[in-house]
């Protein structure tokens, strides 16, 4: 190999450029895309990428959040503030509306609403006629995601068929779909949790406060710290502890647990992320722990 080198981008610049390219492909190929924005750290990066892709113009898509009704209030407040700052349209569709319509039936009152998001998402896709949903999922999050395309085709029922995915070569993306079908586009597929934090640091992105260390009442359940909230009260016999924690992922209150940490700045979180011994979802997501294939199963049913 020669030692001569052409000037190349830093790894973050490369990842950013790739993500911008993917977002522009969605905007160029699809007639009615939407960007899924939850207020979580990955979708915060997505908004910065959208700014870099489309400013000084407006985003060629609205933002949408599928609200389980069980989100942390800090995250919802942040979501609304961020959309307003950007001056972009935010659509919120709520699981509670689907429940009222009867399209979501919970097994019991306290069942996690996380997996039911697919139903509300599919209803919203139909309502607005979206042909593409841009999401912040990453391949390093979970092993079913490692095999997902950047432009992932979903049929009329929102189903992902892992054995029948479109080949994806070079940076030639195929986001074509027939009416009623749908493309899920994942511009930050190639990012890791560490890349996300490095990008947040570099771009000085604001995040919901619960990503940073704070004191919170929790109950220990095995390796997990279960937050004590109105939705997830302590059970008789539980020992409630006040622990310094932060959230590594932010989702439904009923299925997202914080980790013990005193990292209260992005720099400290970066240092922790670089040396952690537990995967992002492993430490925090109860919904991924039911079986080895739980994410794959949810995705087949129309999950992000």
């Amino acid at each position: 190999m020669t030692t001569l080198t052409q000037q190349t981008l830093s790894h973050l610049d490369w990842l950013e450029a790739e993500a911008i390219h993917i977002m522009r492909e969605v905007a160029g190929q699809c007639s009615s895309p939407v960007l899924l924005f939850s207020g979580g750290k990955d979708s915060v990066c997505m908004l910065r990428i959208a700014e870099k892709a489309f400013r000084p113009g407006r985003f060629p898509f609205p933002l949408m959040h599928i609200d389980t009704g069980h989100n942390y209030p800090e995250v919802i407040a942040f979501r609304d503030k961020r959309a307003a700052e950007l001056g972009e349209r935010l659509i919120v569709r709520s699981l509670e509306d689907s429940m009222a319509r009867g399209s979501i039936v919970l097994k019991h009152e306290h069942e996690s609403r996380n997996k039911h998001q697919s139903v509300t998402l599919l209803e919203a896709i139909e309502e607005f006629g979206f042909d593409a949903c841009i999401g912040g999922a990453r391949r390093d999050e979970e092993k079913a995601r490692a095999k997902e395309r950047i432009m992932s085709f979903r049929d009329e029922f929102g189903q992902w068929d892992p054995k029948n995915q479109r080949p994806e070569l070079w940076n030639l993306y195929n986001a074509r779909s027939h009416k009623g079908e749908n493309i899920r586009a994942f511009p930050i597929s190639n990012w890791t949790e560490l890349d996300v934090w490095q990008y947040i640091q570099r771009e000085q992105l604001e995040l919901p406060s619960i990503y940073f260390a704070h004191t919170r009442p929790v109950v220990r359940k095995g390796d997990l710290l279960m937050p004590v909230t109105d939705l997830t009260p302590a059970k008789p016999g539980d020992t409630i502890e006040e622990v310094m924690v932060r959230f590594r992922t932010v989702g439904d209150v009923s299925c997202t647990a914080p980790v013990a940490s005193d990292a209260d700045t992005v720099d400290k979180i970066l240092a922790e992320t670089a040396t952690t011994t537990i995967t992002e979802r492993g430490a925090t997501r109860m919904d991924d722990q039911t079986s080895e294939a739980s994410m794959e199963q949810r995705k087949k049913e129309g999950y992000f």
């Binding site: 020669t2 790894h11 160029g28 000084p56 490692a146 190639n190 670089a274 492993g282 080895e292």
Partner: protein, 426 residues
């Protein structure tokens, strides 16, 4: 290793590479070893692997479990699809494209190779060069991967014998010469024990070259070291006429990615297909001005003159415009279970342009084991063939050998919208 040492301080960019081989060659073990030694595998993943290994009756942790992503793969103990893995060392981030090695998965290897700048070709030291080795090398070469690394693995099973290594190397070099493979390197290693992967180990003092990780850390991350012509396919046009800011009423930004070469403010450019010329007035990222943009950067170009331009057009430097062609010769890999129907019209996506295409001629099918040319009437999945295609509209193309971005295209079946083929312009 402290946290700070683990963060890429000296940013040596990102290297995408491909591993070719099958489970039998120790490919999954090698990937597992790279992830394990670079501390990318975390405790809970390891726990899950231990449990699964035990359930399958294995005594040691099976590192190959890391690459089984899908339920069907875990059930059958095989790899079906390309998986992407990530790790980083102190200076660099890596994306591994891991493709299954069997012959019937040619299309997966082609897919994985399309974005790689280095290929690790695994050879089992006990078996030496196999048809599979030739096939993988041929495909890597066809897909234009600039750097090949032949990793002669399982040295532990041949007593770390230098002569075995040298013999395989000599045989491969003969093949490489015949094929015209230029940048080939060799390394002896044991993925199982880790020798020459991240650590040198003590059992192969006769090998004085760098370890695998050293090679990966220093390999050029770019696809080419040659200066390339500037190619800027327009993805999206930004016209914020309705903006509250009156200064933006005449704003017309051409958004895209610099697929090759570089561009600076003031450069003379030509817009294809209309052929009108202008100069670069400004280069922006997200509304912020920069002076120049390099290969792989996503930017917005503003021109001095008002030229009607839309998605699918291409901006190039006036002095180095590509050819506009309506007929192309290409090497095509067929990727669909539905065979090619030579009578049909397909859709071709080339850069940001989509055109209809008809198959004018199938010149031959290439037997990737023997390199022989065979006459055929149609193409089935995993076939690689030389075709002549007629296009309804011109595309602005370069030969794949000289430009990977403007030499590549995919074939789409409009009835299903599936991607059914991948092509490289000759």
């Amino acid at each position: 290793m402290s946290a700070l040492e683990h963060l890429p301080e000296i940013d040596n960019g990102l290297l995408r590479f491909l591993t070719c081989g099958s489970v039998d060659d120790g490919k999954s073990t090698l990937i597992g070893r790279l992830l394990f030694d670079s501390k990318t595998i975390l405790a809970d993943t390891l726990n899950a692997m231990e449990k699964t290994s035990a359930r399958r009756g294995m005594t040691a942790v099976d590192l190959s479990l890391l690459t089984d992503g899908l339920q069907a793969e875990r059930e059958q103990g095989i790899t079906i699809d390309v998986a992407y893995r990530y790790f980083s060392t102190g200076t660099r981030k890596y994306i591994i494209a891991d493709a299954p090695g069997h012959e019937q998965y040619t299309r997966n290897m082609v897919t994985a190779a399309s974005t790689a700048n280095l290929a690790i070709i695994l050879v089992d030291a006990r078996k030496g060069m196999l048809n599979q080795t030739r096939r993988h090398s041929t495909l890597a070469h066809l897909l234009g991967i600039p750097h090949l690394l032949v990793a002669i693995n399982k040295m532990d099973l041949v007593d770390y014998d230098q002569a075995t290594y040298e013999n395989i190397k000599a045989e491969y070099l003969k093949f490489a010469h015949k094929m015209g493979l230029k940048d080939v390197r060799f390394i002896p290693l044991s993925a199982l024990s880790g020798d020459m992967v991240v650590e040198r180990g003590e059992r192969m003092p006769w090998y004085e070259g760098p370890t695998l990780i050293n090679i990966l850390e220093t390999a050029p991350a770019a696809h080419t070291e040659r200066p390339e012509a500037f190619r800027f396919p327009v993805q999206f046009v930004c016209r914020p006429q309705d903006s509250a800011n009156p200064e933006l009423h005449d704003y017309r930004g051409f958004m895209g990615r610099v697929e090759s070469g570089e561009i600076a403010v003031g450069d003379a450019v030509t817009v294809l297909p209309n052929g009108l010329s202008s100069r670069v007035k400004a280069i922006e990222i997200g509304g912020q001005k920069i002076e120049r943009a390099i290969h792989e950067q996503s930017v917005t170009l503003l021109l001095d003159d008002e030229i009607d331009t839309s998605r699918g057009d291409m901006i190039v430097k006036s002095a180095e415009a590509p050819e506009a062609v309506k007929q192309i010769d290409a090497n095509v890999c067929w990727m669909s279970e539905t065979p090619m129907s030579p009578a049909r019209t397909y859709l071709i996506r080339h850069t940001s342009r989509e055109v209809k295409a008809k198959i004018a001629k199938i010149d031959y099918r290439l037997d990737i084991n023997t390199m022989e040319h065979e006459p055929v009437d149609t193409l089935a999945m995993n076939d690689i063939a030389r075709l002549t295609l007629k296009l309804a509209q011109p595309i602005f193309a370069d030969p794949y050998r000289s430009n990977r971005a403007t030499g590549a295209f995919i074939i789409i079946d409009e009835s299903t919208n599936n991607t059914v083929g991948a092509g490289m312009i000759v």
